[in-house]
């Protein structure tokens, strides 16, 4: 997995999912780490969700809040801007990732700092902000423990909530030993946390500019909410003189009271906690309390296009809990890097191609068996399988009707539109498969090899030969044909 991990996860250049997945499947350590971590989180989630008698109603409330917010996004964004500005914040608008990076870089430079401390933020990962900052001579320190591991390991996040989920403790110790120059470091959780703490404390006290993402923007108050487990986020939000928050425009909630629903749904779904250890909500700036300068960069980056698609727009309801990733049997096998995007798993499979406006990542909508485990756990009831199917249809439309697959599908479609053609195809199928059926005494009546794309089937499975008589042949012989 190193080849994919050491490169930036960019959907524009990533290999297709089946190709990337093949490489991941060979990494037994990675698969073991991913399986273990997702099982642990899933079990924790199941426990704290199971104790909520009104969980389904909460999900429905969450869904409706998010649907309402997205349906009235223009109104709530402007309301947020007004209220944030009134409280002393400065709001900036970025059409895309490039613009967002330019704005943030200029703001950091303007703050007089060539270093920033960062809170874990998927939005900054989406646009690869750290690379842009580095190019402008600004060093970003990730302060979330997992993000620090990713940064020091020159790695990429593989999970929305637990970005270093693919690493185990021994691997993390090796990274810290090397990067922090601590050859004697142990591999107990306390040892690792202690090393990170010593490394980070000095940055918290020295660096004057902080960069964060946002879990929620509250239109009614102009406030911003971030939840986290370690308290390092709280340090970044309170110690620097300048705080720059970058958020996708989809992060808006209409009312402060909506947090009542979201702050129940999110921690239980994300980390299996009843509430997050640290819940920070701040509004503008306050004298002698926290940063003196506060900027919010509101970034579109194709979210408007997602919103314009009636069937795809529910993707924007996502609150980035990662529950779908933990539940997904595909993610469980491959981990996150196979998705070629910082948004992995089922939500990544629908979000990434849409953020790329279907120009890239067209293999992702097919990276699912449509088992529905993601939909079942989604705290805001995003029907991910439905969106996957919708996006598959878009991919097919894009590829045109002349591919081998499209021609085969069209032919089979025509067969299903006629009983006569269907029966003929059944007979033809039996004749066509005859040369492939084994008759060598080692699995007679089975097919062990199929040509072309169907070879994917026989790489791990045999196929039993077609029975001599179809059901409808039998039914007719039985002389019981209905009157229709």
């Amino acid at each position: 997995m190193n080849s994919a991990a050491s490169n930036v996860l960019d959907p524009k250049t990533s290999p297709t999912f089946p190709m990337a997945a093949r490489e991941m499947l060979e990494d037994t350590q990675l698969r073991k780490n991913v399986r273990h971590a997702t099982e642990v989180i899933q079990a924790k989630r199941a426990r704290v969700v199971g104790e909520m008698p009104d969980w389904q109603q909460l999900r429905e409330s969450g869904r409706q809040i998010r649907e309402h917010a997205m349906a009235n996004l223009d109104f709530y964004l402007e309301q947020f801007e007004r209220n944030c500005t009134r409280a002393g914040g400065q709001v900036h608008w970025a059409r895309d990732g490039e613009e967002a990076k330019q704005i943030v870089t200029a703001l950091v430079k303007g703050s007089g700092s060539d270093e920033v401390i960062k809170i874990k933020s998927m939005t900054t990962e989406e646009i690869h902000l750290n690379i842009a900052l580095e190019a402008a001579g600004v060093h970003a320190y990730e302060t979330d423990l997992a993000e620090l591991i990713i940064q020091m390991g020159n790695d990429q996040p593989s999970h929305i909530v637990v970005p270093a989920l693919h690493k185990n403790r021994q691997q993390i110790r090796e990274i810290f030993q090397r990067e922090m120059n601590l050859p004697e470091l142990g591999d107990k959780p306390q040892d690792l946390a202690d090393a990170a703490r010593r490394f980070l404390r000095e940055k918290f006290l020295r660096v004057k500019t902080g960069v964060s993402g946002a879990n929620f923007l509250i239109a009614e108050t102009g406030g911003v909410c971030i939840v986290e487990s370690e308290g390092n986020g709280r340090m970044c939000l309170t110690l620097p003189e300048t705080l720059i928050t970058i958020a996708g425009i989809d992060k808006v909630l209409p009312r402060f009271q909506d947090l009542e629903v979201m702050l129940q749904l999110l921690p239980r779904s994300a980390t299996g906690e009843r509430m997050n250890p640290y819940n920070s909500i701040w509004t503008g700036v306050h004298e002698n309390d926290g940063p003196r300068t506060f900027h919010v960069v509101l970034m579109d980056n194709a979210r408007s296009e997602v919103l314009a698609d009636k069937e795809g727009r529910q993707t924007l309801h996502c609150i980035r809990c990662g529950a779908c990733q933990n539940a997904c049997p595909v993610y469980r096998q491959t981990g996150g890097h196979a998705y070629g995007s910082v948004y992995a798993g089922p939500i990544g499979a629908i979000l990434t191609p849409q953020l790329q406006q279907m120009h890239h990542a067209q293999s992702l909508p097919y990276a699912s068996s449509l088992c529905g485990a993601c939909y079942e756990v989604c705290p805001v009831k995003i029907n991910i399988p439905e969106v996957l199917i919708h996006l598959r249809n878009k991919v097919v439309e894009q590829k045109g009707l002349l591919s081998a697959e499209a021609l085969a599908m069209k032919t089979v479609g025509a067969i299903f539109r006629s009983e006569r053609r269907f029966r003929a195809a059944q007979r033809l199928g039996r004749a066509a498969e005859t040369p492939l059926v084994r008759k060598d005494g080692r699995g007679d009546g089975w097919i062990g090899w199929l040509p072309g794309i169907l070879g994917g089937w026989t790489q791990a499975r045999d196929l039993q030969e077609m029975p001599k008589e179809t059901f409808r042949d039998w039914w007719e012989k039985r002389g019981n044909r209905s009157g229709n």
Binding site: I389, V396, M409, G413, L463, P467
Partner: protein, 274 residues
Amino acid sequence: MIGDFLSGRHHSQIESSMDSVHLFRRLRLRVALFITCYNDTLFPETGKAVVKVLERLGHTVEFPAGQTCCGQMHWNTGYQAEALPLVGRFVEQFRNAEAVVVPSSSCVAMMRDHYPKMAEEIGDRQLISDVAELLPRVFEFSEFLTKGLGLEDVGAYYPHRVTYHASCHGLRNLGLGDGPLQLLRAVKGIDLIPIENMEQCCGFGGTFAVKNADVSSAMLAEKITAVLNTGAEACTACDNSCLMHIRGALHRQRTGVRTVHLAEILAGTEEASL
């Protein structure tokens, strides 16, 4: 504030599938069998077993001859246009049935979850109302027995060690829940062994199995391990598509373990085994 949002306008798939349950208890019904394209072609024994069970229970089985496919493969792979005409075809073939029984959970999920939307896409008012009228009478086989007829014991005998895999569409889209297991527990002579991670996908996923063959095989490997760990002679389910996939690996690995559709277990009787 939660109350503000509980307008009741929205239902999950599972809730709406529960709404469609009708109890036919003690009626002698004309049941139309939708065998589905792949059962017709590859698993005729499943169809015969469904006929046997339904007739044993006193119902009359009909088989509308013009039936072909529900459109699932096309729809789920992104070939919407090819799937759309099959909605009208299904309605045409089955509109007169008192109940439609389908021995494939994923095909029923396809119809229940997507046909209303597909009819709207076609924009034919008659079709929209026909679909809405017909769908509540369409049942997955085990669902027809447990929810439609209110039965658990259908008088079956199957003296074998069996494990049950909960196919995803039956489990999540249809909300079959414990129904198939209740039917199995009532079978005389059966030794039912629970499987680890029963609710985890086997990795079939239709065209997923060939488009993402490596991942599909990796998922299948976990399922095969779980099946073998039960020590069962046979793995059963409500969907032959999952079973075809599982059976393919069980055979490749020469495990000697079989797969068998739930209907074929329920069709077994003591008289027949003598």
